[in-house]
């Protein structure tokens, strides 16, 4: 090392491929002691792959890792990262809600604890000292479930810091990786977390702060590294970097994709939603005209993905009215069965749990919504109808009697689409419809959606993939903290404009 400060962490040439696609492409990252280092990028930019390589979840194909100037062999064995001074706080925090603060704090601290005898009093005193030092309002005996969200986040962070602070093998402070800890926290609580992060870095700990939120990154980081399509775009000094430069680094130069959404003639809307509120969204109003694909998007935690689940009755809404083809009904009264009888269909995001039953056959999966209360099932006819769906939706499978688990993700999703489109829905709701699906199957799904629209169907598509919206959406609503903050139409529906609007939404919020 030529410079004065030996980096806490240094990654060189990290490459990871998944079935030919490069999730990480010769990525470099240098984190200095005592700095907060932002890691930025859109979905699929390689952020999480990089984090998962560090935690040992993924084995990279190429690349080297140095910690405090020492070479560390990759792949990192799972569970060994703490011994190297790396600790992770993921978005779900990894706390056991039923257990006490103290139990959570010491859980998994095998290195320090005597496995045969835990001195609970001494551990409680130690915890109290730790909380006092970090100015945290936590008591060892509290049950974690009773803590506020920010207290839970603080506990998770203080636990991670405790594990690596002494960095027991090497006597240097460690490195914390905070993976999106803030999206569900109110603004003032985010500040409290930032103060805590600053206290930690003051004692020499380095922090990698993974976030979608540019404002938070501008506020708390010293430097940031931006990833795009698996490559490092650059590392920026936060103090001397302007916001638009960072946005452009994240989104990239506008590369137009082939847009499929043709301009629509003016028409009366077929779907109207007013006053819709759920767990995150508040007082949403929107409408869709026949033949239109309405895209809903936003950053994580913004609530864009809640609207579809509420309208399909998958979760119950707090309030709201839906008018569909002239019929008006309260959204809180919608059950999945009611949604079906109103000709609403939902393609859920969690395909393996909510989209298909992997153990059951293609016929069973595809025909369930067509059975009603039948007392005499004609298996020949059901199989023939499934074959018909397989043919029309290009589901590649040997037989309709196969288990759905034997199909690829793309073919499963085409089957789910066929299952619902055979009911000729008036309103089709999509939640992340192309998650984990290869390019070919994506195109086929877009084809089917285009056909549906040509026939006058109305589609609402919630997705975090901006490019997908540029391709298929006629109009896009951008959500921020439960509300619609921007609307993009026609030629304005571009990947970069959507990204711009997502990040812009937060500026207006910060200004509030």
């Amino acid at each position: 090392m030529s410079t004065a400060a030996v980096p806490r962490l240094s990654i060189r040439g990290l490459t990871k491929t998944f079935g030919g696609a490069r999730a990480l492409d010769r990525a470099d990252l240098t984190v200095l002691p005592g700095e907060v280092h932002g890691l930025l990028g859109t979905n699929g930019s390689g952020k999480s792959t990089l984090i998962k390589v560090l935690s040992g979840y993924h084995a990279p194909h190429e690349g080297t890792l140095q910690i405090d100037g020492r070479d560390v062999a990759l792949p990192m064995p799972l569970g060994r990262s703490e011994a190297h001074g790396l600790a992770f706080v993921h978005q779900n925090l990894g706390l056991l809600p039923e257990a006490t603060v103290l139990e959570n704090l010491i859980a998994g601290d095998h290195e320090r604890l005597n496995a045969w005898r835990i001195n609970w009093r001494r551990e409680a005193d130690r915890a109290r000292a730790l909380f006092a030092e970090q100015h945290l309002d936590l008591a060892p005996g509290q049950i974690v479930r009773d803590l506020s969200p920010v207290q839970q986040a603080q506990l998770a962070i203080v636990r991670a810091a405790d594990r690596v602070r002494e960095h027991r093998h090497h006597g240097t402070p460690g490195l914390l990786v905070l993976d999106e800890p803030t999206p569900f926290l109110p603004q003032e609580d985010v500040r409290a977390l930032f103060a805590m992060m600053r206290r930690l870095t003051g004692s020499g700990v380095a922090i990698i702060f993974v976030s979608h939120d540019i404002d938070e990154v501008m506020e708390v980081t010293d430097r940031s590294t931006v990833l795009r399509d698996g490559k490092v775009v650059g590392t920026f000094d936060t103090a001397t970097t302007e916001r638009p430069a960072l946005v452009e680094a994240i989104v990239g130069r506008a590369v137009r994709v082939a847009r499929r959404a043709e301009p629509l003639p003016a028409a009366d809307s077929v779907v109207q939603v007013t006053g819709l509120s759920g767990q995150i969204v508040r007082d949403i109003a929107l409408s869709v005209q026949p033949g239109e694909i309405l895209g809903l998007t936003g950053l994580i935690g913004s609530g864009y993905d809640e609207v579809t689940t509420l309208l399909a009755g998958a979760r119950s809404a707090a309030s709201g009215r839906l008018t569909l083809a002239g019929r008006s009904l309260p959204v809180p009264g919608i059950t999945p069965a009611r949604a079906m009888s109103e000709r609403i269909a939902l393609i859920p995001a969690d395909r393996q749990r909510a989209g298909i039953a992997p153990d059951l056959t293609l016929t069973e999966n595809a025909m369930l919504p067509m059975l009603g209360g039948a007392l005499v099932l004609n298996h020949g006819r059901l199989r023939a109808a499934t074959r018909d769906i397989m043919r029309r939706f290009a589901v590649k499978a040997e037989s309709p009697d196969q288990a759905a688990s034997e199909l690829s993700g793309g073919n499963q999703q085409k089957l789910v689409l066929g299952k619902w489109l055979q009911r000729k829905p008036l309103l089709l709701l999509l939640d992340e419809p192309t998650q984990g699906i290869d390019i070919g199957a994506r195109q086929e799904i877009y084809d089917r959606l285009t056909e549906l629209c040509a026939a006058g169907g109305a589609v609402i598509c919630a997705t975090s993939e901006f490019e997908q919206l540029e391709i298929i959406a006629h109009r896009v609503l951008v959500f921020d903290r439960g509300r619609i903050k921007a609307e993009l139409k026609g030629d304005d529906v571009t990947k970069s404009a959507i990204a711009e609007a997502c990040y812009q939404a937060q500026v207006s919020h910060a200004a509030e």
Binding site: L360, N365, L371, L377, S405
Partner: protein, 320 residues
């Protein structure tokens, strides 16, 4: 896996083949005692009760729930029938509907507690079953009650068709009905999705709670039918009768799920599994092994069955 492939057919009929192998083995060793029609017709008739208990189990199992109380429903109903018939002299037209009502009521209680309080059915039915056993001991004064009217015995065990007691045909009739329900009605598909893809089912309009409740009531009813037949078979009610049927029924249900329609609880697999297990035990006792072989055989079969089904599903996962 292609459904027509040889390995798949072997898997479907593997248990039948092993069963035939058992019969051949015991027949060769003891041709004059084991391989007689009277031995087989006795097995077919007397184990009809176990077949029906197993059929009752597979309905909630298909929906993803356990019913450990079914054997005690059998005991309670058996005892109630004996008391109503032998002690109170009530006509069968009253006794039989009352018996079925007991079974259905227990099913409703199991379902209500499981669904309303969101407790795992394993725990609920374990407790309810033990509670029912307590009631049985109480009303029967912990004694075997005999003197059941001949009418019942006549229509359960004495009447024979092709030499086999009529109880066997009741069991087969119920197997046909359950097979039809599981395979040819929308409700059968709803049961399947409730067990194997509950969220998919829920989002496709299946009212999962109602399906699970119905499954509990049906298993209660089948437990009650088994109880009536038990009293009819032995002419008496014994307060510990059901205790020895629960494990064999579970063993048969899981063993049955490895054949005919591998990977699914299915009535024909269950019927075959019951007679496979009983043949094994009968053969071993004919060879002179003592009663401990029952526990070895049933317990071993249950563990083996779940091991086999894990192996089968594991192989499918690896094949992906």
């Amino acid at each position: 896996m292609r459904p027509s492939s040889l390995t798949y057919q072997l898997e479907r009929f593997g248990l039948v083949i092993v069963w035939i192998g058992f019969i051949a083995l015991f027949g060769a060793l003891r041709p004059d005692t084991f391989l007689t029609w009277s031995n087989f017709s006795t097995i077919f008739g007397s184990e009809a009760v176990l077949v029906i208990v197993t059929l009752g189990l597979i309905i909630p199992l298909t929906a993803g729930d356990f019913d450990l109380s079914i054997a005690q429903v059998l005991t309670l109903v058996s005892m109630s029938v004996a008391i109503m018939d032998a002690r109170m002299d009530l006509p069968m037209a009253v006794v039989l509907p009352a018996a079925l009502a007991i079974g259905a009521a227990v099913g409703l209680i199991n379902g209500a507690i499981t669904l309303y309080f969101r407790v795992h059915s394993l725990i609920v039915t374990l407790g309810v079953g033990t509670f029912l056993h307590g009631i049985t001991l109480w009303i029967g004064n912990s004694q075997t009650i005999s003197g059941v009217s001949m009418v019942l015995m006549e229509w359960v065990i004495i009447q024979r068709i092709f030499g086999i007691p009529i109880a066997f045909y009741y069991a087969i009739l119920l197997a046909v009905l359950i097979w039809y329900m599981l395979s040819f009605t929308a409700f059968g598909q709803q049961l399947l999705f409730t067990g194997r893809g509950r969220e998919v089912g829920r989002l496709t309009g299946v009212s999962v709670g109602r399906v699970r409740m119905t499954a509990f009531v049906l298993s209660g009813l089948l437990g009650a039918i088994a109880g009536i037949l038990y009293t009819g078979t032995t002419g008496s009610a014994n307060p510990s009768s059901g205790t020895y049927l629960l494990l064999p029924a579970f063993a048969a249900a899981f063993l049955g799920a490895t054949c005919i329609k591998p990977g699914r609880f299915n009535p024909w697999g269950s019927v075959i599994a019951v007679y496979f297990l009983v043949t094994g035990i009968n053969g071993l006792s004919v060879l002179g092994f003592r009663t401990f072989v029952q526990d070895l055989f049933y317990g071993g079969a249950l563990v083996l069955a779940v091991m086999v089904s894990q192996l089968v599903s594991g192989r499918k996962e690896r094949a992906l």
